[in-house]
């Protein structure tokens, strides 16, 4: 599958091992007609014709599967299967075929009636506009009076129907704005459309020579076209984000008092119940460990990079991953009161900065509509004073409104954002909302989370005093374990993994042991590996993980988190552009300051709780700062919504991805400066478009006020300005190479905190 190489790399290699159980598949499926069951899978790496054949082939071959169909646009496979037999191993089949997939449940997929409504409205407006234009051309060409009247009547019929059907989208939004005492771009648009239509219908019935049906319907068609494109773009970004694997388990095996195990969805698990969390699974709900010991990975929840050891009695939070060992956890809180739910409540409370933001188009409309409406009123009064002819004066006033109807203004912003979103998506960045681009362009401070954002969140060996056959023995031992420390050590000597290990055992919380070539090796905590308490002299020798051969020391490994490729470069680039860079982390102060020093970040705060992060951001906001927050953890989620604008990697926790305005795929932090560049270019083009549209209107207003506007001039003026604005948006520069995700394994290590012992 060579063609699939670029998209195929998963952002999170450590997530690959988790595969939903049969119960989970069943739970995410639903019954459809003919007694079949339908399961939707998200297959992000599918992207070519042979992928369709391979995926559908692999799925339909499975026992019980009736049909499988891949949607290449949304990267989603729909499988219909016959229940009764065992659940078909859908995800295994896909991973054997070379595609990582994840379950897609229906709660994720909000139905999108808005898009269908927009497309239908655009189609109807297009149909009416084309036909009216056809009739108008012959009127402009000088049709005789009876023909003209007939054509105007026919146009009136088409235009009234089209405005009634397609115009509702503007009228509804304008009405909502007016009722709440504000204006938006739709207010002058609606007013212009309705007045032009009313004047034209009146004049047609009076058999006057001029009618503006062509301009009105063409205007609706252009605007709806822009709006539909905007909606399509956002939907594409949303499906890209929704298609990411869900991190949180949907449910867990509950152990009843009589020992039977049943799979329950997360929302139905009550406090006091005992759940089983196997190695490689995430903890579904907050609770206390009752049986078992294990190492757990809390990086996504608290931002702590290293694994934590848990024993019976330890409190654990939902979302932490059990790395090894099997745990039985007594649930203490329901899904509604869990840590995640608390984070989500905090996210909602934190959304100040965004709620206060007013979009450029709305700010422009607030200036634009009073000026234009005042001008129309002045023209009306002026003509009344000069001629005393009511009909003539009203016609002039309405002509002013028609010719200044902000068609180009309505397109100026969305068209640029559609093109910008496309450029972002080409680079693996999904933009969830157009206004995020405007906010991004105003940013003056960039705040990073540490674990998982600036660093990979994966341990790597930084220093090692083990050599020769001990090293290959250590690698052989660790190749059999999925603990992060083991994986890091195993990376040192990959070909050692085939070495025979006897009596291999993994002791959760301590380390691994086994017999290699007659020697007994232990790798793990120094106290356990060496079998004795460490003296102060030992401590300076053995920091980190010790390797013991037959009970005596064979050296040690020191591990640290690795920086993301090009992290330092990114920080430098941001600073060169005059942005302040800061780091907020929930991790320990030593590691945070070490990371900050190696990246050249002066402002760093360690040991922060989620509420501390939002408080810090709130303070910046009150000082007038405009902050971009980049983070991935669950503990960052409130901060992501508190910042003016936020970005999260695709590997972020579910809540973080939901809170972020932009989600970037691949492992590259370069996405941050790239998104900033695109946002600034977009902002420049939007400003150009606005200035252009306004000056264009200023140019034609004198003609309108003087009463020289004919339908031909109105139609030309409107179409021309719209086309020019769209053309200007398409000028958006295309950068040559795709930088995100390139230079994958160019790891630079975090320096270790100085051991002052």
């Amino acid at each position: 599958m060579a063609c699939c190489a670029p998209g195929a790399e998963s952002p999170l290699p450590s997530q690959r091992a988790e595969r939903p159980s049969a119960e989970e598949i069943l739970h995410a499926s639903r019954n459809i007609e003919d007694g079949l069951v339908q399961t939707d899978l998200s297959v992000p790496s599918a992207h070519c014709g042979s992928c369709i054949a391979a995926i559908e082939g692999a799925l339909t071959k499975l026992e019980g599967v009736v049909s499988a169909r891949l949607n290449l646009s949304t990267r989603r496979a729909t499988v219909k299967w016959r229940p009764g037999g065992p659940v078909p191993p859908l995800l295994r089949a896909l991973s054997d075929a070379g595609y990582e997939a994840s379950l897609f449940s229906y709660e994720d997929d909000e139905a999108d009636p808005e898009l269908a409504r927009l497309i239908r409205a655009t189609a109807v407006a297009g149909f009416a506009a084309m036909n009216i234009m056809l009739l108008s051309v012959s009127v402009w060409a000088g049709a005789d009076e009876t023909t003209r009247h007939a054509f105007h009547l026919l146009s009136a019929l088409l235009a009234v129907l089209a405005v009634a059907y397609s115009g509702r989208i503007f009228f509804r939004s304008a009405w909502a704005a007016v009722r709440s005492g504000a204006t938006n771009m739709d207010v002058p648009i609606s007013l212009g459309i309705l007045l032009a239509l009313a004047l034209s219908v009146h004049d047609t019935l009076q058999n006057e020579p001029h009618a503006y049906f062509d301009a009105t319907t063409a205007l609706i068609f252009f605007l709806l076209g822009g709006r539909t494109l905007d909606h399509l773009m956002r939907r594409k970004a949303r499906t890209a984000v929704l298609g990411l694997a869900k991190m949180m388990p949907r449910g867990a095996s509950v152990i009843a008092p009589d020992g039977t195990r049943t799979y329950k969805p997360q929302s139905e698990i009550e406090p006091g119940e005992l759940v089983l969390v196997a190695a490689g699974e995430r903890i579904p709900l907050d609770g206390t460990v009752e049986v078992g010991t294990a190492d757990i990975d809390a990086a996504l929840v608290t931002g702590e990079a290293g694994p934590l050891a848990v024993t019976p009695g330890t409190q654990v939070l939902s979302g932490m991953m059990n790395l090894n060992g099997s745990l039985q956890i007594r649930i203490t809180r329901t899904a509604r009161d869990s840590f995640i739910a608390g984070m989500i409540r905090m996210m909602e409370a934190a959304e100040h900065a965004r709620a206060h933001y007013r979009r450029i188009a709305d700010r422009a409309a607030a200036l634009y509509s009073p000026v234009v409406h005042g001008l129309a009123a002045l023209a009306f009064l002026g003509w009344i004073a000069a001629t005393g002819d009511w009909h003539r004066s009203l016609t002039v006033a309405i002509c002013v409104l028609i010719i200044t109807c902000p068609c180009a203004l309505g397109l100026a912003v969305p068209m640029v954002q559609v093109v910008a979103a496309r450029r972002l998506l080409e680079r693996g960045i999904a933009l969830k909302e157009g206004s995020a681009l405007e906010r991004l362009a105003e940013v003056d401070t960039v705040v990073f989370d540490k674990t998982g954002t600036l660093t990979i969140g994966e341990l790597h060996v930084a220093r090692c005093s083990v050599t020769g056959k001990d090293l290959s023995a250590a690698a052989a031992l660790t190749a059999r374990s999925r603990h992060p420390v083991s994986r890091a050590v195993a990376e040192l000597a990959e070909k050692a993994s085939h070495i025979e290990v006897e009596e291999f055992r993994e002791r959760p919380g301590y380390g691994v042991e086994g017999r290699v070539g007659g020697d007994h090796y232990r790798l793990g905590r120094p106290e356990w590996a060496l079998g004795r308490q460490l003296s102060t002299a030992d401590r300076s020798l053995f920091s980190g993980t010790a390797l013991a051969r037959n009970g005596s020391s064979a050296g040690f490994f020191e591990l640290s988190d690795a920086l993301r490729p090009r992290a330092r470069e990114v920080v430098e680039m941001l600073r060169d552009r005059g942005l302040a860079v800061a780091m907020l982390s929930g991790d320990r102060p030593e590691t945070v300051s070490a990371a900050a020093a190696s990246l050249g970040i002066q402002t760093s705060h360690a040991g922060l709780l989620p509420e501390d992060k939002t408080a810090w951001l709130e303070e910046r906001r009150r000082e007038g700062g405009k902050v971009l927050m980049v983070g991935d953890g669950l503990n960052d989620a409130p901060a992501l919504s508190a910042a003016l604008v936020s970005m999260a990697p695709a590997s972020a926790a579910d809540a973080g991805r939901a809170a972020a305005d932009l989600v970037y795929f691949g492992s590259g932090l370069m996405a941050v400066p790239e998104a900033l560049t695109i946002a600034r270019t977009a902002n420049r083009l939007v400003r150009q478009n606005l200035i252009f549209a306004v000056s264009y209107n200023a140019l034609v207003i004198p003609i309108a006020v003087a009463g020289h506007v004919t339908p031909l001039i109105a139609a030309l003026a409107m179409s021309l300005s719209s086309v020019l604005v769209v053309a200007n948006a398409l000028r958006f520069p295309r950068t040559k190479q795709r930088t995100t995700g390139a230079a994958k394994r160019n790891i630079s290590m975090l320096p270790l905190p100085d051991k002052a012992l």
């Binding site: 007609e33 646009s73 139905a111 109807v124 056809l134 009739l135 023909t147």
Partner: protein, 67 residues
Amino acid sequence: MTVLAWLIPIALAMGAVALLAFIWSMRTGQYDDLDGAAERVLLAQKEDWPLTEPSDQSARKNDNERR
């Protein structure tokens, strides 16, 4: 004039047919997977009818019966 009385309704009717055809193709999910449709031309398989969303299931059934 008499020519126009024929031609204009014919022109409008042709436009309306195109509009209805577009709305029909949208309702039956033919616009749901534009990327896939481009690739599927090259695949040798029998079934090339798009899957529709559940809300349009009835629409699709009718079409199937008609075929």
